[in-house]
């Protein structure tokens, strides 16, 4: 086990917990969304750390592809959530 | 010799970055902070890139690095202008 493995792996776990806590507890929707994004970043960090094999050794491309997909899906989900929030504001302003 | 030059340039670039960052933290108002940030960092990046370009000794990579510097110069000049303009507008409104 490399030093980088546990440094980045544990940080990924911490980011996941931090994001999850915010997503569950924060009062503001926007911060909850950012919390979910931080959670996602934690998961990505864990995956990329698992893919890492050490300096000079080719890492696992399957996990890299997975994370690449994840980043794009995360941004589209965030965009959909923001559009929903905007519609919610409009409804509340009407009513 | 070239190695020494490259290290010297890189270290002095980092020095400018440090000065810019201290300025960002210590200076009193937005305009002087912007000044510290953009001027010192652009020069710092320029020195850093000159050092890296010497270090690689590859013309293509050196060209790419210079391209990065130019893009950052334009972007930071424009964004500093926009931030300052916004702040100025807000001041004159209130």
């Amino acid at each position: 086990m490399l030093t980088a493995h546990w440094l980045y792996g544990i940080s990924g776990c911490l980011l996941l917990a931090l994001g999850l806590r915010t997503a569950l507890l924060h009062d503001m929707l926007l911060q909850r969304l950012i919390g979910i994004n931080v959670m996602g970043a934690g998961v990505f960090l864990v995956l990329i750390t698992v893919a890492y094999r050490g300096p000079g050794i080719a890492p696992d491309p399957v996990l890299h592809a997975l994370v690449l997909t994840g980043i794009v899906v995360a941004v589209s989900a965030t965009a959909l959530a923001l559009a929903l929030a905007r519609r919610l504001t409009a409804e509340q302003d009407d009513g | 010799m070239i190695e020494v030059m490259a290290s010297l340039l890189t270290v002095s670039g980092v020095g400018f970055y440090l000065a810019g960052s201290i300025g960002l933290l210590r200076l009193p108002d937005l305009y002087s902070r912007l000044h510290a940030l953009t001027k010192a960092d652009n020069l710092g990046l320029g020195l850093l890139i000159a050092g890296l370009a010497l270090h690689t000794q590859d013309l293509l990579i050196a060209l790419k690095l210079v391209l990065i510097w130019l893009a950052v110069l334009a972007a930071s000049a424009a964004s500093a202008h926009l931030i300052a303009q916004h702040a100025r507008r807000r001041e004159t409104q209130s």
Binding site: M1, T3, A4, H5, W6, L7, Y8, G9, S11, C13, L15, A17, L18, L20, R21, T22, L24, L25, H26, D27, M28, L29, L30, Q31, I34, N37, V38, A41, L45, V46, I48, V50, Y52, P55, A58, D60, P61, V62, H64, A65, V67, L68, T69, I71, V72, V73, A74, V75, S76, T78, A79, L80, L82, A83, A85, R86 | A71, A74, A75, H81
Partner: protein
């Protein structure tokens, strides 16, 4: 080796402190800006962990586009819905309940992190089972591309990418259904206009380069699509209303371009007696580039729609004929 260790520790500490700062503040704008900085540091971490493809996507999407999306959201709806229905806690009992709840959730999150870290440690203790990575490198020669990540995305696991594009399309349709786009920005001053004038062509060129280079170096449809979308965001901020995004049927075609090109190639191969999306090695490079071009257009259209925040409305009168 110690220099690398110092870099690692610095990166990890900045990641954790930026995330904590972004999530601890109640100021939405501050939170978004800290999150953007977090995304940039994360891109550095991807570079450090030898994942340049992911680093490019993170810098363009995670830090750039999500930041732009979130900042626009802060700007135009700072006041109501985002500060969701927080009920004032008058009663003491409710306040106690909330504190208990917060502690419970925090402890559970810590427990989750610990459990995950323990599982990871177990996994790292064994020698990695590289069967998938080995399969990729063994078959890279017949994949049509030499960048292993592109080979996985567009060839070996093309199903996943097809379904991902379907997810993107679903998100775009959702945004479409939720209402009209927010009004555009007013025309920018000469400085930003001047920047946009050369930045946009440069970004379009970069997108084309990234698309092409993805076959053998870091890059590909995702990074190219994000760069193209960034060009549109710059144009939109500079006051161009439709930023060249087609309206009506052409827009619909652009949105479904990725999925339909994937399906057309897959079904075409079925007709020729190959498995679905099982490219013949001789054609693989060309077919991958074809699919990636369509996917880039679809990704860019989706991300631009996301930045618009809704269905683009036709311009009033004839104001919009240049784009």
């Amino acid at each position: 080796m110690t220099a690398m260790l110092v870099l690692d520790i610095l990166l990890v500490l900045s990641l954790l402190s930026l995330a904590t700062a972004a999530l601890a503040t109640n100021d939405a704008r501050r939170s978004v800006i800290l999150f953007m900085a977090f995304g940039l540091v994360l891109a550095l971490a991807w570079g450090r962990l030898l994942a340049p493809d992911v680093a490019l996507a993170e810098a363009a999407i995670g830090a750039g586009l999500s930041g732009a999306l979130l900042l626009t959201a802060v700007r135009d709806q700072a006041h109501r819905a985002l500060r969701s229905s927080r009920k004032p806690v008058h009663e003491r009992g409710r306040a106690n309940l909330r504190v208990t709840l917060e502690w419970t959730v925090t402890l559970l999150c810590i427990a989750l992190a610990g459990l995950l870290a323990w599982a990871l440690a177990q996994a790292f203790d064994r020698a990695p089972k590289d069967t998938l990575a080995q399969a990729v490198s063994a078959n890279l020669a017949i994949s049509g591309v030499s960048n292993p990540v592109t080979a996985v995305l567009l060839n070996f696991r093309a199903y996943d990418t097809l379904l991902e594009l379907a997810v993107l399309l679903t998100a775009a349709l959702g945004i479409f259904a939720l209402g009209p786009a927010r009004p555009g920005h007013r025309a920018a001053g000469p400085v930003f206009d001047g920047l946009a004038r050369w930045l946009v062509p440069a970004l379009i060129l970069t997108a084309g380069y990234l698309l092409w280079v993805g076959a053998h170096a870091p890059g590909g449809a995702f990074q190219a699509g994000a760069t193209l979308a960034a060009a549109a965001v710059v144009l939109r901020l500079a006051g161009r209303r439709s930023v060249g995004l087609p309206t009506g049927h052409t827009l619909h075609v652009a949105m479904v371009a990725g999925v339909s090109m994937f399906l057309a190639v897959g079904l075409g191969l079925l007709v020729l007696g190959r498995p679905f999306l099982g490219y013949p090695p001789a054609w693989a490079g060309g077919l991958i580039l074809l699919i990636e071009t369509a996917a880039m257009l679809a990704i860019a259209a989706t991300l631009v729609l996301a930045f618009f925040g809704g269905r683009p409305t036709p311009a009033p009168g004839v104001a919009e004929k240049t784009s």
